[in-house]
């Protein structure tokens, strides 16, 4: 019997955004591992913690949420969740947390190894589960945890008192890190980092906004991969350069009438929620096969932080999706739907993320009404593969498509 011949992966142009972004994301892991070997401090950082702090202080970073997503996408989510559950963690807890806690115990996972941390930088603007997750990591690993408390804001905008409260913690976190590692804060470097972060963010947000064109010059699932750099490395110069390359490519795609969406774009939807990483291919294919392009998602835009002064920077961190009230969350999404000519909304009811999924039935109802678009939701999970049914997903997507089709015919 002839041996199966594996197709060699298509070479990626080293000048392309895909190559540059992939290299930055990959290098971040490698650099942290090398730094650890050399005795330099490594921080595990929650995704919406101000990247400006570790970047300015020259700390090497690992983002456990990003690691967990990678592990889940490569098929090891269940194995790692099992380890955490055997240690007594409920399977109702966020699967990113379970995977991370399992990694802290095992200290290895070939699907995505990382450097072990010397400090934990936690911010609860993404969710409060983060606090207990990091407290447990701190306890288990015997390392300090620095907490930046950004509570859920019930008002539409953060007040000055709110900004002052978070701003004071920003400086306190820096002082703690200076004391722990004997390092010094450098205002000039901070300025450069903020410039780099804003440069990356502006290019990223402008790139995602290219979906305003019909057809969109990109497949929205690309954003789920590219955003890793925005999560982990937006404060680096090379991130800004790579994001500008991405923007240039999307603009060229539009001008040339091409797209990274490899199908005829018949329908355009907004995807709500964190990606269903264990089934990224199935969820993507279920849309693409029907000519549905996921043109926008707040999940991607959430990692673009543009500001012009310190208070604006703090306000930006107080205004990430899970820290803002329903009205502001809704309005941001309505804007995305309208700016990008969205015809339907597909909601991932993510079993891991009670906060995000909990307010979606009401929010998606309001978005559907405001934009006059159909809404469909499906059950899944960002990292635990046991919470998804492909057949159920398929029926819901097809139902959504049939309503969009019927709306077009009308």
């Amino acid at each position: 019997m002839a041996e199966e011949v594996k197709k060699a992966p298509r070479p990626v142009d080293p000048n392309s955004a895909k190559y540059k972004l992939g290299k930055i994301a990959g290098d971040a892991y490698v650099n942290a591992i090398e730094a650890k070997k050399a005795g330099k401090p490594v921080a595990w950082v929650s995704s919406n913690f101000p990247v400006e702090i570790p970047e300015t202080l020259g700390l090497y970073t690992v983002y456990p949420e990003n690691q967990a997503a990678g592990i889940a996408a490569r098929g090891a989510g269940e194995r790692m969740c099992d380890v955490a559950e055997a240690d007594g963690y409920s399977n109702d807890i966020c699967a990113y947390a379970r995977i991370s806690l399992a990694y802290a115990k095992l200290k290895e996972c070939p699907e995505q190894d990382v450097a072990m941390p010397d400090v934990l930088l936690c911010c609860n603007n993404i969710c409060n589960c983060m606090i207990k997750w990091y407290e447990n990591l701190s306890q288990e690993l015997g390392i300090p945890m620095i907490m930046l408390d950004i509570p859920f804001n019930p008002d539409y905008e953060p007040s000055q008192a709110f900004i002052d409260y978070v701003g004071a913690q920003f400086w306190d976190a820096i002082h703690q890190l200076e004391d722990i590692f004997g390092i010094k804060w450098d205002d000039d470097k901070f300025k450069k980092v903020t410039e780099a972060s804003c440069r990356s963010s502006r290019a990223w947000l402008e790139a995602t906004a290219q979906a305003k064109y019909t057809p969109s010059p990109f497949n929205g699932f690309d954003l789920l991969n590219h955003m890793a750099v925005m999560v982990t490395a937006r404060g680096k110069d090379e991130a800004g350069e790579a994001m500008e390359t991405l923007l240039k490519e999307y603009k060229e795609n539009h001008e040339n009438g091409t797209s990274t969406f490899r199908a005829d774009e018949k329908y355009r939807v907004m995807f709500e929620g964190i990606a269903c990483w264990p089934y990224l291919r199935a969820t993507s294919k279920g849309l693409k096969n029907r000519g549905i392009n996921m043109v926008t998602t707040i999940y991607a835009d959430a990692f673009g932080f543009d500001y012009s002064n310190f208070d604006e920077m703090i306000a930006a961190y107080c205004s990430v999706p899970n820290a803002i009230n329903l009205e502001k969350s809704r309005d941001k999404r309505i804007k995305l739907c309208k700016d990008n000519n969205v015809e339907g909304l597909l909601v991932h009811t993510n079993r891991s993320c009670k906060l995000w999924s909990g307010f979606m039935p009401e929010m998606s109802r309001q978005i559907g009404e405001a934009c006059d678009i159909p809404v469909a939701s499906f059950d899944g999970d960002q990292a635990d593969p046991r919470n998804f049914s492909e057949a159920q997903y398929d029926t819901r997507v097809q139902g959504l498509m049939e309503i969009m089709e019927s709306n077009k015919e009308a």
């Binding site: 159909p374 939701s377 049914s389 159920q392 029926t395 097809q398 139902g399 049939e402 309503i403 009308a410």
Partner: protein
């Protein structure tokens, strides 16, 4: 002109032949859905009943969970669209379909012109579906067809608080052991389904006229519980279990007459 609709569900397979998109010429149902011989048996049955064969059929549309796996159709459409079409075919002016099948429950809203405008489905859980009722009937050793008569004798329906089928099973057993009367238990089980699906219906927005479809629609006790839960009259037709297949056959007809 004859068109054929095939609805392959999780527990049964249904076929309907429409003549000229106007009336049900033949229908057949076989136990066994996706992954069983049910679809083939159902097809064989409808050929026998109608005296027609495949060459008489102008177009075949497949729906239901098995729609993607069945070979021999001319196309496939989701059961959401098909139940909306099938319900509206039977009930003029229909605006809401509550479909409870073997493993899922869905509420479909229709526009004034009869097009599906939105839908809400159950989450990844069998509570509030036909499977839930089957499990309960099994542990009570009661034929599910007797539910309506037994529930009708209840004065004080039992409260089944667990939404999980497995937990509800042990809750029912406990209540049985504590001497709760069978009619009250059965009425409570039906109320439990109606409460759960009623919440879906309210999310979708209930607009009159409302009908039930799917296998559970045949259960008068659930229909009554649903009417009580939603405060609306629920239309019922004995062909309710065939609405998906009727809708598929109608879809096929409309495709040919566009």
């Amino acid at each position: 002109m004859y068109t054929l609709g095939i609805d392959i569900g999780s527990t049964t397979s249904k076929c309907v032949i429409l003549k000229d998109g106007e009336y049900v010429y033949a229908k057949a149902l076989a136990l066994g859905g996706l992954g069983t011989e049910g679809p083939e048996k159902s097809l064989q049955s409808i050929w026998n009943e109608s005296g027609l064969n495949k060459s008489d059929i102008a177009r075949t549309i497949v729906t239901g969970y098995g729609r993607n796996r069945f070979e021999g159709g001319d196309g496939e459409v989701s059961e959401l669209t098909c139940h909306a079409l099938g319900g509206r075919f039977i009930f003029e002016g229909l605006r809401t379909v509550i479909d409870i099948g073997g493993q899922d429950a869905k509420v479909i809203t229709l526009s004034e012109s009869g097009k599906m405008s939105n839908f809400v489905m159950n989450d990844k859980c069998a509570a509030g579906t036909g499977r839930f009722l089957d499990v309960m009937a099994n542990i009570l050793c009661v034929d599910i067809n007797d539910f309506e008569e037994l529930a009708g004798k209840s004065d004080t329906p039992a409260s089944i608080s667990s939404t999980c089928t497995v937990f509800a099973e042990s809750e029912v057993i406990s209540q049985l052991a504590n001497g709760v009367e069978m009619p009250d238990l059965i009425a409570g089980i039906c109320d439990s389904v109606a409460t759960r699906v009623g919440a879906l219906a309210r999310r979708a927005g209930v607009r009159d006229k409302v009908c039930m479809s799917g296998g559970v629609a045949r259960n008068g006790a659930v229909r009554k519980a649903m009417e009580k839960a939603l405060g609306v009259e629920i239309e019922y037709d004995p062909q309710a279990q065939y609405f998906g297949a009727i809708g598929a056959a109608l879809y096929a007809y409309r495709q040919l007459n566009r």
